[in-house]
């Protein structure tokens, strides 16, 4: 039993990252009907921005001799600042890469996304070199054992922050005027701009929100796995993309649920079968889901309305 619960905890952590990143894919698809394939690399940029903000903050504290804040306060500040900076990166990606292609075929936008991803990866490699960076440890790991299940304060924090951000996003989309504009745009990409909703601002906002969440995921990921490299976003990004698909394109709740589902499938496949088969079995299950629900859990066909 403890063994099972331990793996549930493992899966919750793995799922948190997928869910947070999947939200970005899903929102952009919902509003603009395009998959931002550079999103995994935005996640990487977020992790690096987090690294530099943290290192900068620690340096500032030590050189100015300020009273050091508790680690978790620093972490919260770092997450917020990095989310803001990465949101601007996301907006820039939209402005430079996607806006000129608004009327172009979808394939052009998809290829552009892949190219932007490669530019971000290799740009990072050229600027910072190939040496791995180690994310500074802001909070000391405390281990709790509850009924044979090992928890750490970091794991609880990761899952907690992820859920909090998802809730905040949900509130934003459902309760604010901007959120309503996004939902309207998802409802009909062609007509709603004619009613006076500014398409470009909404597109920028969507990219900003998605990139901010990706940055948060990047920092949480770096807290859990403190080795940063320019290619860290690729695999995670693709898996999150898959989660966005099974969640139902454009569905926030679906993306979040599917992210956690993917985490569970991955961990339990590794537990039950040899871990070599993990991706094989995980993606076979996903294929099966898509055979029975081609539009994902909460998605609907392109022609009808899309939810957000």
């Amino acid at each position: 039993m403890a063994f099972f619960l331990q793996n549930v905890v493992n899966a919750l952590q793995a799922g948190s990252f997928y869910a947070l990143i999947a939200l970005g894919y899903s929102m952009v698809y919902g509003v603009l009907l395009l998959f931002n394939f550079a999103h995994g690399d935005i996640f990487m940029v977020g992790a690096y921005v987090g690294f530099f903000v943290t290192t900068g903050a620690l340096l500032l504290v030590s050189t100015l001799g300020l009273v050091a804040l508790p680690g978790w306060v620093v972490l919260v500040l770092v997450i917020l600042v990095a989310m803001l900076i990465t949101a601007f990166v996301g907006v820039a990606v939209e402005r430079i890469g996607y806006r000129p292609l608004r009327q172009a075929p979808r394939a052009s936008a998809a290829i552009t996304g892949l190219m932007i991803g490669i530019i971000l990866e290799t740009g990072n490699l050229a600027l910072l070199g190939a040496t791995r960076l180690s994310f500074p440890e802001l909070i000391q790991t405390t281990t709790y054992t509850v009924g044979g299940v090992t928890l750490t304060n970091k794991r609880i924090m990761i899952v907690g922050v992820a859920l909090l951000l998802m809730f905040a996003l949900h509130q934003f989309v459902q309760r604010t005027k901007w959120g309503m504009a996004m939902r309207a745009m998802a409802y009909d990409f062609g007509v709603v701009p004619l009613m006076g909703v500014p398409l470009n601002s909404i597109a920028a906002l969507t990219f900003a929100l998605g990139s901010g969440l990706a940055a948060a995921a990047g920092i949480l990921f770096s807290v859990a796995y403190p080795v940063l490299n320019p290619y860290m976003g690729i695999t995670v990004g693709w898996k999150a993309f898959v989660a966005a698909i099974i969640g139902g394109r454009g569905s926030i709740l679906g993306a979040a649920l599917a992210g956690f589902l993917l985490g569970f499938i991955e961990i339990f496949v590794a537990v039950i079968f040899a871990s070599t088969y993990r991706d094989l079995i995980a993606f076979s299950i996903i294929l099966l889901i898509l055979i029975f629900r081609p539009h994902g859990f909460f998605g609907e066909a392109h022609t009808s309305r899309l939810r957000l």
């Binding site: 063994f3 331990q6 793996n7 493992n10 952590q13 793995a14 490699l125 070199g129 190939a130 040496t131 791995r132 180690s134 440890e137 790991t141 281990t143 054992t145 090992t150 750490t152 970091k154 794991r155 990921f221 859990a224 796995y225 403190p226 080795v227 490299n229 290619y231 860290m232 690729i234 695999t235 991955e266 961990i267 339990f268 590794a270 537990v271 040899a274 871990s275 070599t276 993990r278 991706d279």
Partner: protein
Amino acid sequence: MKKVTISFIVMLLLTVGLAACGAAAPSGATDTIKIGINAPLTGDIPKVGEGTKYAAEMWLEDIKAAGGLDVGGKKYNVELVIEDNEAKAESATAVTTKLISQDEVLVMVGPQSSKQAVPAGEVANNLKTLMVSPWSTNPNTTLGRPYVFRTPFLDPFQGPVLVNFATKEFGATKAAVLYDVASDYPKGLAEFFKSAWEKLHGEGSVVAFESFTTNDTDFSAQLTKIKDSGAEVLFAPQYYNEVALIVQQARELGYEGPILGSDSWGSAELMNLCGDACKGLFFSTHYAAAGATGATKAFIDRYNEKYGYVPDDVGALTWDTMLLVQKAIQDCGKITGDIAVDRQCVRDAMANIKDFEGITGSMTFTEEGDPIKCAVIVKISDAGEFEFYKQVCPE
């Protein structure tokens, strides 16, 4: 049909033409000796590539200071052609082909890890060019390949060394292994460790044999299984970036036992990434920097002064490899300018080297091109240094 025939003829003509160019023009290379370096400058293990490059460049400095490489009474300029293999198998073979066919190097040093060295060895052997890998420990690198040599010991030796060490040092009877199934080096070593352990402790004494694939960062499912299996020692034959993640996650999941490593741990970068979690752990390697003496110490001091950190085993092994290659070229006695003849001559000279005193130990090559040499067990001290713990030699 006609089209196929024509294109076939064109291809044939092109091939003949190219071959003729290659043979007819030794490109005035008679007074320059080119040595290719095939190293992972970017990719998963950039620190390994950096160590290779630095050690090779230090060697070149010495050659330049001596006014060139003296072969049979004539001084030759030496040029290093350093190419990046991105730590990928396919890039390593492409680089090998480029170095040998296009740059016309006399000898190729590298690739470093077995994942690249095993496929690259096939290419070098087919093209009849001496390849010396300074770091690859998987037997397949040199197996049945007369043109491929190496400087480190082999995994079938390293595996049992670690098994005996873990048995004596920790009194362990149940072991777990966590390794990357998609990479030649960890996979080979994991299997050698497993068979040696089961030979000593009986069938089923490796209680968990868990794998993952390259670029994975989350090992929680595997480590939970390992913890649950009651293993007394965990063996992780991984590269430094993964070691940091494995050790930290194992501790966070409540695995308290010793974690044992192999020579791939011995990177200057390990402690930067792993921090306190790796202190007190053991791994087997080629040399220990802390407490070295003689030529080894001279090398370490010089490297440290020049590049600002203590060289890892890759640096030391590359240094030895460069000296071995130098000796092979000098033993060959003359450079004719016909690259095929010279390559054959250097390869034969390499096979005949006896009792070469390197900074990582004395080396004599077997039929397969593998050296017979000793291994060192290193303990990571509380200061984060790799301290000599004991030496294990082949019987």
